[in-house]
């Protein structure tokens, strides 16, 4: 484990009871996280991609301490005080209380910690507003009086207020327009440099992840199926799911390609976990040799100590993708 590791998750499992019988006994369970191992280093941006419902937001909630895992542990790796962690949610509309003026929204985390006068809080709010590019005059307005991008700036200001070490960004730009998305991504990058923040960036927009993060984790059905440097993974996916995902991402070049018949990708259910490889049903490469067994997350090769994959087959070798090097404009 590297020295600058801030937090490490090991073998996190989260289940939700979804149906109870009349005695209150659980009849069926949603297996949302099924063994997550992950380290987050200081100052890095870790991207997490995966399809809808694979447990990304749940993972964020575990990190925030909003959920207690049923198994596994979250360990904070610093010697001194526990690092502060904050979160920015996807939808800036619903993550800001519509009835609070902006300065109160921004300073809510420190207000809760206590010990600041009203005047101090306003000053802090004003400072933060400037940092995220909001005008100080706006502090008395209410969230609905702002555009989507400005609201997301407010949310970021609020996350910065307690001086965090880590910020979890749960789809921070997916509710925003392209032109605004660019502003927010730039802002996040600037803030990271200025404050040596760590980001955990959750998104299903691969290009955003690619732009922002050095390292990414690909999630599938509550597990990390692939982990490694962004450029490596995008170029040479080692897991069939990653490959499928990357194939589906539309790019700016060429036409939509028809690869085989139009099949119906039914998303996996998390009520009953498969006994073998979780991706078995959708996998083009499946065989009867090892795929019926549960797959551990293993190191891809001895020399690439940072690259991990949850597939015993080595599709990596022949999966070199043509990554577009062409840039528009």
């Amino acid at each position: 484990m590297p020295d600058n590791c801030l937090v490490s998750l090991s073998d996190i499992h989260v289940h939700f009871p979804v149906q109870k019988n009349w005695l209150g006994q659980v009849k069926s369970t949603a297996h949302v996280l099924n063994g997550i191992d992950l380290d987050v280093d200081a100052g890095e941006t870790l991207g997490i991609v995966g399809e809808s419902g694979c447990g990304k937001s749940t993972l964020a909630q575990v990190l925030m301490g909003l959920l207690q895992p049923v198994r596994g542990s979250v360990s904070w790796q610093t010697a001194g005080a526990k690092p502060t962690i904050q979160i920015v949610f996807q939808d800036p509309q619903s993550s800001l209380d519509p009835r609070l003026p902006v300065w109160k929204v921004i300073t809510e985390p420190i207000h809760i910690q206590g010990g600041h006068s009203r005047g101090q809080l306003r000053q802090i709010a004003a400072d933060l507003a400037v940092q995220v590019g909001l005008r100080e005059e706006y502090l008395d307005r209410y969230p609905h009086e702002f555009s989507g991008g400005q609201r997301q700036r407010i949310a970021i200001a609020r996350a910065l207020a307690p001086n965090p070490d880590i910020i979890v960004l749960d789809e921070p730009t997916s509710a925003l327009d392209i032109s605004v998305q660019a502003q927010i991504l730039n802002l996040l990058n600037d803030l990271q440099k200025a404050r040596n923040l760590s980001y955990i960036l959750i998104s299903h927009n691969v290009s955003v992840i690619k732009h922002m993060s050095k390292r990414i984790a690909v999630m599938y059905l509550g597990q990390i199926v692939e982990l490694g440097h962004t450029s490596d993974i995008l170029q040479k996916p080692a897991h069939p799911y990653t490959e499928l995902l990357l194939d589906a991402v539309p790019d700016m070049t060429g036409s939509l390609a028809m690869k085989g018949p139009v099949d119906l990708p039914e998303l996996p259910g998390n009520r009953h976990l498969p006994s073998g490889c979780f991706f078995y049903d959708r996998c083009h490469y499946r065989d009867e040799k090892g795929c019926h067994l549960a797959q551990p997350l293993r190191r891809l090769s001895a020399e690439q100590e940072i690259r991990w994959v949850r597939c015993y087959k080595n599709i990596y070798e022949n999966s070199i993708r043509a990554v577009s090097t062409e840039v528009g404009v």
């Binding site: 979804v18 149906q19 109870k20 019988n21 009349w22």
Partner: protein, 338 residues
């Protein structure tokens, strides 16, 4: 949730509610100053006589013991004996309950038959004159003191026009149908007594109109707001985008969806109708529980008041159960949701 689950959950609730209701009414009715024994014995009775009666009724026991005795009876379906009439409370209540229930049910049907179309029209023609009129009607209904309306109707339709009878359930000389459900309308049809049926219907008109007018407002207001909600939903846009005729969209798509959240309101409205009947019954000499209860409270007839409260809350919980079951039928989504 399965039918079984719903029923078992509600039944557990029923026990709790009935217990709670009995405790609260017990406490409250014993808080009322006054001595029922004295009431029975009469003004001029001596203290010795009053004491004797008190002892006979068990009113000299400590309160918790009285309650315990009451509870024991309750478990055996015995609501105690009315202090005022000397008859078992259950027997008294059952004599009055069907009349109240018939009035309430007919009023509810009336309120729904008129209120739902009004609500739909109001939503479809939102902010048009149609909406203004239907909303005026419903606000009038909600704001109308029922007893006042009832008195007015009697004066006009009995006093001046003689179109309807002044009160009661049947005219004198009209055969009372054999007891099956206690609803004269139903029983007379079952017995084939058409004359009784028409007579009973004729007697029901004014009280039912009075009582339903109030709830018509509640119903149409509810339907209006849930219709408005549904009409702004995406699937309505879809239906329109595929060229379905306006009224098909409204009646076959929006209305069923709007009725779903309204079922709770309608079910509870029946409960309210039961209580609301108290005042209406007084005005229309309707032989229901209303008058009985008012008299019982004034006569400190604890067992009767408690019996009434327990019975009505029982019905109320059963109505909730019915509403839950109705959801199973009309809302396919329920089965899935935990």
């Amino acid at each position: 949730m399965s039918v079984f689950q719903i029923i078992s959950k509600r039944l557990a609730g029923l026990v709790f509610v009935v217990l709670g209701v009995s405790v609260i009414t017990f406490i409250v009715s014993h808080l009322i100053p006054g001595d029922p024994a004295r009431l029975i014995a009469g003004d001029r009775a001596s203290q010795a006589m009053v004491d004797a009666i008190r002892e006979k009724l068990g009113l000299n026991l400590p309160l918790y013991e009285q309650y315990w005795l009451y509870l024991k009876g309750l478990l055996q379906g015995d609501l105690g004996t009315s202090i005022r009439t000397g008859r078992p409370v259950l027997q008294d209540l059952l004599a009055f309950f069907p009349a109240t229930m018939e009035l309430a049910v007919v009023s509810l049907i009336l309120a729904i038959l008129i209120g739902v179309p009004l609500g739909v029209l109001s939503a479809v023609y939102k902010d048009k004159w149609m909406d203004q009129i239907t909303r005026s009607i419903s606000v009038m209904g909600i704001s109308m003191p029922a007893f006042w309306l009832g008195m007015g109707l009697i004066i006009i339709f009995y006093g001046n026009l003689s179109w309807f009878p002044a009160g009661g359930r049947l005219s004198q000389g009209v055969a009372v149908p054999p007891f099956v459900t206690g609803f004269y309308l139903v029983d007379s049809l079952l017995a084939g007594q058409m004359k009784t049926f028409y007579n009973a219907l004729w007697h029901l008109v004014l009280p039912a109109v009075t009582l339903s007018f109030v709830h018509l407002g509640v119903v149409s207001r509810q339907i209006r707001s849930s219709m408005l909600e549904q009409l702004s939903e995406d699937y309505i846009r879809t239906a329109k985008a595929y060229g379905l005729p306006k009224w098909q969209v409204i009646l076959r798509h929006a209305l069923p969806n709007a009725l779903i959240p309204s079922v709770t309101v309608l079910g509870l409205a029946l409960g309210d109708l039961l209580y609301g009947a108290v005042l209406t019954e007084t005005v229309f000499s309707w032989p229901g529980m209303g008058l009985y209860v008012v008299n019982s409270i004034q006569a400190l007839d604890f067992p009767a008041v408690m019996g009434f409260a327990v019975l009505v809350s029982f019905v109320y919980v059963l109505l909730n159960l019915l509403v839950d079951l109705l959801y199973l039928v009309i809302d396919p989504r329920i089965k899935e949701v935990g």
